[in-house]
């Protein structure tokens, strides 16, 4: 479980996160939704320590991440997996080498064990015969799947996904969403997903938090989101004609 307590962040005296407090539950896919520029990515970067929050605390299972030094954080980071918007695969390494990278760096597994783990991870994301391809030779969806395989290679306790299905066609986007959701349940990890895609929300949103202009406006489940009385959330959810057709009252 990850808890965020009264988190504040500003850039050039412009507040980006304002007093955010919420919890991300273990074994569930926790979605953070909001418009572009609402502060979702900054929140995620604060969670993983890529951006330092000005105030507030972040707890990983009661371990205060905000109060930790460089070395302690590095230890926690070995429990994190992250899927970046652009996949962030190492472009000079093959698919296999990308997945092997964290295993080589942090484990004492034998060569055979590592190979087995790579094959398991690639099978798990339904990729075959791509071991020796470079990231440049993969499609967008395949890159995301390799990034998921790399993220789960060292059996993380926490998985972060920043806009996992941006730039993907709807069937591939749903495939990636389902994969994230299945992996979360299968390995009982705490998953946090940033998205503004309502298909993702309705597909995998066990817990949903809506951020508007840097403030937390609403939390609930994917079932509750369609019946919320929150004006800003409704504006976000019912922005498209399709959604308004589904729920004419909104």
């Amino acid at each position: 479980m990850i808890r965020v307590n009264h988190l504040w962040k500003e850039f050039n005296r412009q507040p980006v996160l304002k007093d955010i407090s919420l919890a991300f539950e273990k074994g569930k896919t926790n979605l953070v939704i909001g418009q572009s520029g609402s502060g979702k990515t900054v929140l995620m970067k604060c969670l993983v320590g890529l951006v330092e929050a000005d105030r507030g605390n972040i707890y990983y299972d009661d371990r205060d991440f905000s109060a930790m030094g460089f070395k302690e954080r590095r230890a926690i980071r070995k429990e994190l997996g992250m899927l970046f918007q652009g996949a962030a695969l190492f472009d000079s390494l093959t698919v296999e080498e990308n997945i092997l990278f964290p295993l080589n760096m942090f484990t004492t597994m034998t060569k055979g064990e590592k190979q087995k783990r790579v094959s398991f991870c690639l099978d798990r994301v339904d990729l075959h015969n791509v071991h020796h391809l470079l990231p440049a030779e993969l499609s967008g969806g395949m890159k995301k799947r390799v990034a998921i395989a790399r993220a789960i290679a060292i059996k993380p306790k926490y998985l972060f996904c920043d806009e996992p299905n941006s730039g993907l066609d709807p069937p591939t986007a749903i495939l990636i969403d389902k994969l994230i959701s299945e992996i979360t349940a299968e390995f009982n990890i705490t998953t946090v997903v940033n998205t503004h895609d309502l298909n993702s929300v309705m597909e995998i949103g066990d817990c949903v938090a809506f951020i508007y202009k840097g403030e937390l406006w609403w939390t609930g489940t994917r079932h509750e989101i369609l019946h919320s009385s929150n004006k800003e959330l409704n504006h976000f959810v019912y922005a498209t004609e399709l959604m308004r057709t589904l729920n004419p009252g909104k």
């Binding site: 993983v48 320590g49 890529l50 954080r73 590095r74 230890a75 926690i76 980071r77 070995k78 994190l80 997996g81 992250m82 970046f84 918007q85 652009g86 962030a88 695969l89 190492f90 472009d91 990278f101 964290p102 080589n104 760096m105 942090f106 060292i154 972060f160």
Partner: protein, 246 residues
């Protein structure tokens, strides 16, 4: 004030780079790879420039020291001294600052803007150490080797020029090359080269590591890396010459 900001940030980066590696064997493999990328792949340009510069230095010296009081072997002597003391360590380092510096900055800068460095940091890897330290060590090992090759080829270029143009008889050229040879000159050149290699790799790594934005900014970072590493090479050339030769 911005200058102090960059100097401070550069030294903090160097401190981070010099932290204990997570896995020494991976760093060792990276060093070998970088020796190939940064050193061996520069061998061609170093060889071509060295041969032609050696030839030009010999011809220029011959035409500008045409005096009855100056012995003819002085042309070989002057060529050797120019090549060993200045041309090979400094000019070759400046050329490597352009070739290798831009490569390092653009490679690391692209990794920064495509979030590959963030991915390394999230994994708990010391990204600065993993990306920059092998490049620094590889440069400090391979650049002196390149400079020694450059010295040999520069002097050989002078010999070829003498043979083709006849500006100096070959026996006089060879006598001048061997005349009052001091091993210290080689040590001096190699010490300079090692310092320049550190400057080129670390300064270029710095500009790449802190690149922000997109392709345009990576280009700017690459340009800055070349400009600043060249300036620091020239600056430290003066300082080291003063320290080592005086």
């Amino acid at each position: 004030m911005k200058l102090f900001y960059h100097i401070g940030r550069y030294f903090i980066l160097v401190w981070i780079i010099l932290q204990k590696p997570e896995r020494a064997s991976i760093y060792r493999r990276q060093i070998v790879l970088e020796m190939d990328n940064l050193g061996l792949q520069s061998l061609g340009i170093v060889a071509i420039i060295s041969v032609f510069m050696g030839a030009v230095v010999t011809i220029q010296t011959a035409f500008n020291t045409d005096h009855p009081l100056l012995p003819i072997y002085a042309i070989g002597f002057a060529t050797r001294q120019a090549i060993i003391l200045e041309f090979s360590p400094t000019v070759i380092s400046l050329i490597l600052a352009g070739k290798v510096g831009s490569r390092i900055a653009s490679e690391i800068g692209t990794m920064r803007v495509t979030e590959q460095i963030d991915a390394l940091e999230i994994m708990g890897v010391n990204a600065a150490g993993y990306l920059i330290l092998p490049k620094i060590i590889a440069s400090m090992i391979i650049n002196p080797a390149l400079v020694v090759i450059s010295m040999f080829l520069g002097i050989f270029g002078g010999w070829v020029a003498s043979a083709i143009t006849g500006v100096v008889p070959l026996s006089n050229y060879v006598y001048g090359i061997l005349f009052e040879f001091s091993q210290y000159d080689i040590y001096y050149a190699l010490i300079k080269t090692v310092v320049f290699a550190f400057i080129i790799a670390s300064v270029s790594g710095y500009f790449g590591f802190y690149a922000k934005g997109g392709a345009l900014q990576v280009g700017h970072a690459s340009t800055k890396a070349v400009v600043f590493s060249s300036i620091y090479v020239i600056l430290f050339n003066l300082v080291l010459t003063q320290i080592l030769l005086v």
